[in-house]
Assembly symmetry: C2
Homo-oligomer: 119 residues x 2
DNA sequence: TCAATATACAACCAATAGGTTGTAGAACAA
DNA sequence: TTGTTCTACAACCTATTGGTTGTATATTGA
């Protein structure tokens, strides 16, 4: 229990922040896949895919089991649910804000909120 | 799935992968805060906090509006919802897997799934 | 007017991320 | 046995991240 919750959460979102890793996770949620099988799909080396699997594994987003030579990966829905729960908590903060009427007050404000331009 | 959408998603999860940024986001969801006001809470320079705000802004997780000298940040629940939706889709893949009975077949397997040891 | 405040942004630096190639060993197939 | 497959991991390289300090500019208040 050396690792704090914050660091665990950091690792989960970091693991999710790469689209190759999200793709590996999607496939591992649908069924078991060996690393070499996964690696065949991407335009990068086996070692690179192996590292992506390792990042997902260390984040707890997937489990591994040995079957002969193969290391079979399987998505772990528990960890995904914990990330979803955290996002729901963030959303709830905003809803709380609506309840306190801050949102309605803000609607009277003539200034336009500034989102970054697409790049 | 478009490349640009992938990049936008990468940015959202990357922005969420730092606990200082998650804290800034929480506070910005509860109400508006100027950057200097936020910066006072953290053990780092104003410029560092400004960079964190910029990462959140570029990810679309918060909006900025000018009020005199101040740049007021406000959390954007829309972007959080889009991230939540993506995680829900991932969870759904796993539920789909249950429907296909893969999960029940896997339960017969004697080998124990391997999660990484805490470090 | 002038000092203080708030922000923006550039330049710099160490650590980490994401890729590569190479080496080694275990498990399988013939 | 021997060659092939699959994984693990080290060493290396470059780009990015997350922090710093310093400078410039706009706004406010006395």
């Amino acid at each position: 229990m050396t690792v704090t919750k914050d660091i665990r959460t950091d690792r989960i979102f970091h693991a999710l922040s790469d689209h190759t890793r999200r793709d590996i996770l999607r496939r591992s949620l649908e069924g078991e896949h060996s690393i070499s099988e996964l690696a065949a799909s991407y335009d990068m080396s086996f070692a690179a895919v192996q590292k992506h699997v390792s990042v997902l594994h260390k984040a707890g987003l997937l489990t591994k089991r040995r079957k002969g030579r193969k290391a079979l990966t399987r998505g772990n829905p528990e960890t995904i649910r914990s990330a979803t729960a955290l996002l729901k908590e963030l959303e709830a903060l905003w809803y709380g804000r609506v309840e306190r009427m801050d949102f309605l007050i803000a609607q009277d404000n003539p200034e336009t909120p500034n989102l970054p331009s697409e790049t």
